[in-house]
């Protein structure tokens, strides 16, 4: 897919109401400043659109200048959002030490030549202003110094303690404006934190911000925790726990801390995943050594059996429209990926290559299925279309497993273990070129990416007189 960075059509995000963070359109909140008109200098046409081959990865990251915001935690906000943009692989924030112009205010446009001189393809700056209600108003503008026009302006209103989330949300707006794809920075990762030794390992359910900050343990280590997954509501998760003599699936509400056993089954339950609307959980039950896929309606607690062959059928994952599931089965001898309808009908294999395919995860965009593939003494993370075509590997190493999709369907997080070493969380983009340990650097496995914590209704620069697309 070829995307023009400077879209000629205005893209307005969905208008879902925000909860924790109140968003207003820039034209609403930033109007009325005494110097407003100065910020609306005549945009000069200069230079053509810059294009990024998103599917091919980044050949040269986009040079962005992120000036320290003025006001409370302003410098930290700029640092956090710069880190987000850098980790995405699409952006290379310019070292602020090289900035010529300093002291930018929202009332004024940047001095464009001073930014083009240092190679900035975009300039981001903003301010944090206290409000009478105790919250802060964080406004920002993003300019194209070559074309000398405004790419986006926006503001968020939130409590001072929420400055990190504000930084992530600004990064999401910038990412969306520059790539045409929704962002993924205002999200969290639920994972299994590991400690102790190989033979005396402690595993705890934990949650952390996407960039690795604010890790919190949610269980005490008395059970072995496996495979936590988010619902479409980022407050709700499902996970598996192994005790001394039991195996359970728990539903857990992150806000209330309420934990509920999904049920007592005739057999051992494993591999839970929510349906896209959060109304059902698909999982497997092992009975008499045979593992099959079931789905439970959370309202009625009615259990339906979806597979019944003698092979291992597990790791079900719904398509984003809920109409189908991908799962893995060794009914043909080796583990392969299969797709079936939500009622269990129409089961058919989709993976075509040799080796073992396990742990599939359907992309939230619906276009791809990620999986773990082993063979030749290595394990890797790959993707294929839902019909099995276009398989490509994004990563390979001694051991890695369990890909989980970023909310925008362009990145995967997974766990990787070095030979005889620790297990950590890694992230790869769909090109396979952007690959690095995730923001969270501690020991952990089984990462699951949350949906965006709430949607931002950003007016991407439309309506401003100096908007690039005006």
């Amino acid at each position: 897919m070829r995307l023009n960075l400077f879209l000629s059509t205005v893209c307005v995000l969905g208008l879902a109401a925000t909860t924790l963070v109140q968003a207003q359109s820039a034209t609403q909140s930033l109007n009325g400043g005494p110097s407003q008109q100065q910020a609306r200098q005549q945009p000069a046409q200069n230079g053509g659109p810059i294009e990024v081959e998103i599917d091919q990865g980044v050949l040269r990251p986009f040079q962005i200048a992120v000036a320290p915001f003025s006001g409370q935690n302003g410098a930290s906000i700029a640092e956090v959002l710069s880190g987000d943009l850098r980790r995405s692989g699409f952006f290379e924030p310019i070292n602020p030490a090289s900035f010529i112009e300093t002291g930018l205010t929202l009332a004024n446009a940047p001095n464009f030549p001073q930014w083009t001189q240092i190679g900035a393809q975009a300039v981001l700056y903003g301010s944090v202003t206290p409000r009478p209600d105790g919250r802060n108003d964080v406004g920002f503008r993003l300019y194209d110094p070559y074309r000398q026009c405004q790419l986006v302006s926006y503001n968020f209103i939130a409590t001072p303690e929420q400055w990190r989330r504000i930084a992530h949300k600004i990064a999401d707006v910038v990412y969306q404006r520059m790539t045409g794809e929704s962002g993924f920075f205002d999200s969290r990762i639920i994972y299994v934190a590991e400690s102790g030794t190989e033979l005396n390992r402690l595993s705890r359910l934990a949650i952390v911000d996407q960039d690795g900050y604010n890790p919190v343990f949610l269980t005490d280590g008395s059970e072995i925790i496996l495979t936590p997954r988010f619902s479409s509501n980022p407050d709700e998760i499902v996970y598996m726990a192994l005790g001394e003599d039991y195996s359970r699936i728990y539903l857990y509400n992150l806000t209330t801390g309420r934990r509920e056993n999904l049920g007592e089954f005739d057999g051992q339950p494993l591999a839970p995943r929510y349906s896209p609307d959060g109304s059902k959980v698909a999982f497997s039950i092992i009975r008499g050594g045979n593992t099959d896929v079931y789905v439970m309606d959370l309202q009625t607690r009615r259990l339906s059996r979806l597979t019944s062959d003698p092979g291992i059928d597990t790791s079900p994952s719904f398509s984003p429209d809920g109409s189908r599931l991908v799962f893995n089965s060794d009914r043909s001898g080796t583990p392969r990926l299969y797709v079936m309808n939500a009622d269990g009908s129409g089961q058919r294999p989709i993976s075509r290559g040799g080796g073992s395919y396990t742990a599939p995860a359907w992309s939230p965009r619906g276009d791809l299925i990620a999986f773990t593939k082993s063979g030749g003494g290595q394990f890797g993370i790959g993707v294929m279309a839902p019909d099995g075509s276009g398989e490509r590997m994004l990563s390979r190493s001694y051991f890695e497993e369990g890909p989980s999709w970023a909310p925008n369907g362009r990145y995967l997080m997974f766990s990787r273990q070095t030979r005889g070493g620790d297990t950590n969380l890694w992230m790869v983009d769909l090109s396979g070129r952007v690959i690095a340990q995730s923001g969270y650097q501690g020991r952990g496995s089984d990462p699951a990416w949350s949906p965006l914590l709430d949607e931002t209704s950003a007016n991407l620069g439309a309506g401003d007189p100096d908007a690039c697309d005006a």
Partner: protein, 184 residues
């Protein structure tokens, strides 16, 4: 923090021979090191060179005790890579388990299926379950009533041998017969 039961479990595995899991002492685990020839109390199964677990000082247990079962019968059998069928090498031990269980008919057991680390988490749980079921079926064929045998799979979550070696993986592909109740 680790619970008492989990600690007990690990000590049981680490020392290979302790009296009762329920009253196992809280001691640091002496992990397997992968060294050869030091596992004096480790059953010489699946073969020499897989030891390294320290332990000792405990004689044969009283007849019908858990210790008796662990030391004199052997509570674990091993599986080939990606396999869940009981290998002929394991027949004598499972035969002995069946005989012991028939001698002490009040004992109930839980067969725990385990897999090595070279597999993905959920698939390994399913694989471990097949191993546990194979052992259960074997014991039933040898006359142990089905109602006395429960099963669970721990997948790759409960390794007994440390290290990324063929030897460690071979030991971690096992089925463990744990006594639940009824032992002397």
């Amino acid at each position: 923090m680790m619970t008492a039961s989990r600690t007990a479990k690990v000590v049981l595995i680490g020392l290979s021979v302790v009296a009762m899991a329920a009253c196992a002492p809280r001691r640091p685990v002496e992990g397997a090191t992968g060294e050869t020839g030091t596992g004096t109390n480790v059953p010489a199964y699946p073969g020499p060179g897989t030891g390294g677990i320290e332990g000792g000082g405990i004689g044969a247990g009283a007849p019908g005790s858990q210790q008796d079962f662990v030391v004199n019968v052997g509570d674990r059998i091993y599986f080939d890579l990606d396999s869940y069928s009981v290998s002929p090498e394991a027949y004598p031990r499972l035969d002995a388990q069946a005989q012991w269980l028939q001698r002490y008919p009040q004992v109930t057991v839980r067969i725990e299926g385990n897999a090595d680390e070279r597999g993905t988490r959920e698939y390994n749980l399913a694989l471990g379950a097949r191993r546990a079921e194979s052992i259960r079926n074997y014991l039933i064929e040898r006359g142990v009533s089905a109602g006395r045998i429960d099963t669970i799979s721990f997948g790759k979550e409960r390794p007994i041998a440390q290290g990324a070696s063929e030897e460690a993986w071979a030991r971690n592909r096992n089925g463990h017969t744990a006594i639940v109740s009824g032992a002397n």
